[in-house]
Symmetry: C2
Subunit: 166 residues, 2 copies
DNA sequence: TGATTTTTGAAATATTATTGCGCAATCTCC
DNA sequence: GGAGATTGCGCAATAATATTTCAAAAATCA
């Protein structure tokens, strides 16, 4: 079912649910122009086929006391697959690390981290990250402020691209 | 209402909704150990007070054809507030830019971008980003793979921290 | 074109969300 | 310490939504 192409209604559903993941199925159906039952079936299919990975409340971490956000560029000593995987597994265990992406180029990984305060981050940095097996170098940058933070799919680009190729 | 401290039930609600934003209120109430009506009232309060910014479906962008993910480190010529703001406003307009964070240190901004393919990204890079007013330098890194991608609050850290300070 | 497969939507049913309200616990201020 | 005010709970009733069922419409294909 993976290769199934999506029709315009499916894409509209994805766009709407990306914008508001708690929209009722009735409202969603109205917006995409079909009745509720087929709309719900489409949503289920999109979930089962992996187009929708899940739904998440967007919780304000600063309000909860996580005032510090940091990007860490990490270089490793060995880039053997086993060593890369080992580092990734470590990242999955560290709660303060919210994202871990492997990169091309000089740096091997970029991590997005959060912490309640600088000292908490510093102790994570010196006690965990820098002491971790195979870590050669870490460069960190504090986030001053967020101008845009909308992970997800740019559906306007997708639609434009589809209509061009149609 | 901003400074209102949250009780353990509120935090549990946030944690549950962060993990599954479409959970029914009945299920949520069951999990946090209160009945449905007060649970719903708490959720509404959390939404209105800004602890919950919204809900979003997590859509698989690769499945939709966005195969390329890139981090771009941007340096500007001028760091005057007006110039910083102007660049941020540009980023908000660019659909391919999903995140824009201002950093301390040598680099001024880090952008997370997506694109259907490399050539699309390249043309964005050369036609838009590099030609933009005040942009001095851009260094890009392609994402090879994601080891972890869980934006949000590490509630385990939060709870540990609260119990320690209790 | 006609048979086959898919998808739809009206209607019925099951669940869930929401409101109203009285009760109990906690606070507050004498 | 205690009366009144405040807060938060949960039961019960109602409104709305989700989900199933099924016959008809639409799309697909030989």
């Amino acid at each position: 079912m993976a290769g199934t192409r999506l029709d315009p209604i499916d894409r509209k559903i994805l766009a709407e649910l990306q914008a508001d993941g708690r929209m009722t199925n009735v409202e969603l159906a109205k917006r995409v122009g079909i009745s509720a039952p087929p709309c719900l079936r489409r949503v289920r299919t999109l979930e089962e086929s992996g187009y929708i990975r899940g739904y998440h409340a967007d919780v304000d971490s600063r309000e909860l006391g996580f005032e510090v956000q940091v990007f860490a560029m990490v270089g490793l000593n060995s880039q053997a697959e086993a060593d890369l995987s080992a580092f990734e597994e470590l990242c999955r265990c560290w709660s303060l690390v919210r994202e871990c992406h492997m990169l091309n180029g000089e740096v091997d990984f970029i991590l997005k981290c959060v912490a309640p305060d600088l000292s908490t981050f510093q102790s994570f940095l010196t006690e965990d990250l820098l002491k971790a097996e195979n870590v050669a170098s870490v460069k960190t940058s504090l986030v001053i402020r967020d101008a845009k933070d909308e992970p997800g799919v740019p559906f306007d680009v997708l639609e434009e691209r589809i209509s061009r190729n149609a």
